[in-house]
């Protein structure tokens, strides 16, 4: 089971002077259970790509299959229904997701998606409760509050809960931490990791922060000018210095730091994705020198 993106090309506003091809021949498979990070320069087509994953954009040419079902199946009625169900397997959290809130209470806003799915009130309540606990919002404390009284970080949590209430199998997060303060950001990252580990939701995570990507992801996708530049494990991806540079990206800070150490003459292994690994490498190097 997986999301297959087959030779997808996408053109914005075709046949006008403003025509712009944002994706060119993108071909890849996102495995179920993986944590895929997508990185790339501003305008490289990340948001365009992820909007194909739940059928918001229809490829100009090519196909997107979720668990083997074409998201834009147009043939028979059963094909259309299957396509709709497949789209609903993929939850989509937009950049600045809090801008989508509209209900009077937090409960009603999170309940919007499950109600659209046609669930009964009891199921809806159960789902809202679960979604709120997943993003760390107390049910009794928050359910009757207006979403517009909350802080930015809390509003974003409500918005994410609104998607989680659909119980998606795949979750797309487009720069979920943009505009949050450091503490709120770390907390949100932890919660995303929890969702992946405990609820086994397949994550597709768009981010500009290489440190986050190095810690979280088990697959990295670098985009450049609408094309896939590289799709590999973080350890190997961050080794490809030239490719990184071509995409206008920097390696994680810890890697740059270790490289600086090595260039200063300390024989340290520069392969580290997290700060912990980096510290371990440094300790090893220091011990090797002393002993």
């Amino acid at each position: 089971m997986s999301i297959e993106i087959k030779n997808v090309t996408y053109t914005y506003m075709p046949k006008t002077p403003f025509e712009r091809t944002a994706l060119k021949d993108v071909d890849l498979v996102i495995e179920e259970g993986s944590f895929t990070a997508i990185a790339g320069h501003t305008g490289s087509g990340k948001s365009t790509l992820v909007q194909h994953l739940n059928g918001l954009l229809e490829p100009t040419s090519g196909q997107v299959l979720v668990d083997g079902v074409d998201l834009n199946g147009k043939g028979s009625k059963s094909e259309k229904l299957a396509a709709r169900d497949a789209r609903r397997k993929v939850g989509m959290v937009f950049q600045y997701a809090e801008h989508q809130l509209f209900e009077e209470t937090i409960f009603a806003d999170i309940a919007f998606a499950p109600r659209n799915l046609g669930l009964g009130e009891e199921d809806v309540e159960a789902r809202v409760k679960e979604a709120m606990s997943l993003v760390g919002l107390g049910y009794e404390e928050f359910k009757d509050k207006s979403p517009f009284q909350l802080s930015g970080g809390q509003m974003r949590r409500v918005a994410i809960a609104g998607i989680l209430a659909m119980q998606p199998k795949y979750l797309v997060l487009d720069e979920p931490t943009a505009g949050l303060d450091a503490a709120g950001k770390n907390k949100l990252i932890q919660e995303i990791l929890q969702l992946h580990e405990k609820k086994h939701i397949t994550m597709i995570f768009v981010s500009h922060n290489m440190d986050d990507i190095a810690c979280l992801a088990d697959k990295v996708l670098f985009m450049n000018q609408g094309r896939v530049l590289l799709y590999d494990t973080p350890a190997r991806a961050f080794q490809a210095k030239d490719t990184l540079q071509e995409a206008g990206l920097c390696p994680p800070q810890i890697m740059s730091f270790l490289e600086d150490l090595r260039d200063a003459g300390i024989p340290v292994d520069t392969n580290a994705l997290t700060v912990e690994e980096g510290i371990a490498n440094i300790m090893k190097a220091v011990k090797g020198k002393n002993g």
Binding site: Y12, M13, T16, F18, Q51, N54, L56, R88, G91, M92, F94, A97, H99, Q100, L101, F102, F112, A113, N116, L117, F148, G162, I163, M166
Partner: protein, 267 residues
């Protein structure tokens, strides 16, 4: 999707018409529109048609834009044509039930339709070749003598500028919110009228909130840059009447003289 809509009719370019001072363009357009009513002879209309066609050609506007600007008013033009065709007394061409189609009617119908077409095309030529910003700027300048009698010319122009500036932003915003709600299971394409009307609420509420937030931020940013209305305000791009404009004015006066001669000779 929504982003396919292009607002404003401005066609960027570098033709003489594009480079003319927008104030002069507005004033000349005004005189031409009056001229079309005043010089109502066959000869004058041939001159006006050639003039309009020529201006379109030299401004580099694609010809299909001509038909596009006429399309919204096509029915009015046809209706006017039909009324004149059937209601002018004179020599019969044909009879349809109780209506008489006359030669005089045909001529008058063509004449009046041509007048409408010319009015529309000349006006759209202004919006095709002048960016909305220049247009509002020119309007402000032309209205500024009225400031003395209390017309808030600067404020009106500023409001127009801001509105024009934010139309694409709001369209983009609507697109984004619709996509976000679609991701939560909203369906904008099926259902009866009631159901669809209900689906609009989740789009309109965030849209209004964001519009107010933007208005607030913009007001704050303007204030922070010491905006205090039009009093003593200078401009980065000052409108200047250049030699092109003098030539255009001169040519228009000549044309007027010629048309007056034609009218005098009843051509």
């Amino acid at each position: 999707m929504l982003s396919d809509i292009t607002i404003g009719q401005y066609f960027p370019g570098g033709s003489l018409l594009h480079r003319m001072d927008p104030r002069v363009k507005i004033v000349l357009l005004f005189f031409f529109l009056i001229g079309i009513f005043f010089f109502d002879t066959v000869g004058a209309y041939i001159v006006f048609s050639l003039l309009t066609g020529g201006l379109f050609y030299f401004s580099g506007i694609p010809m299909r834009m001509m038909t596009k600007s006429l399309r919204p008013l096509l029915w009015i033009i046809l209706f006017t044509f039909a009324i004149h065709l059937f209601s002018t007394p004179g020599e019969d061409i044909a009879r349809i039930w109780m209506f008489h189609v006359t030669w005089e009617g045909l001529g008058k119908g063509i004449f009046i339709s041509l007048r409408l077409v010319l009015l529309i095309l000349l006006s759209s030529l202004l919006t095709f070749t002048t960016s909305p910003l220049k247009l509002t700027d020119a309007l402000e300048r032309l209205l500024s003598p009225l400031k003395r009698v209390g017309v808030p010319a600067h404020e009106l122009a500023m409001m127009m500028t801001i509105a024009l500036r934010f139309i694409p932003t709001l369209i983009e915003e609507t697109d984004k919110i619709m996509k976000a709600q679609q991701s939560r299971g909203s369906d904008f394409t099926t259902g009866n009228l009631m159901q669809r009307a209900k689906q609009i609420v989740p789009v309109l509420v965030p849209l209004f909130i964001s519009a107010f937030r933007r208005a607030d931020e913009l007001a704050m940013a303007m204030e922070a840059r010491c905006y205090h209305g039009g009093e003593g305000r200078t401009q980065m791009k000052v409108l200047r009447v250049s030699s092109i404009d003098y030539v255009a004015c001169g040519a228009s006066v000549l044309l007027c003289g010629m048309l007056a001669l034609l009218k005098w000779n009843n051509l």
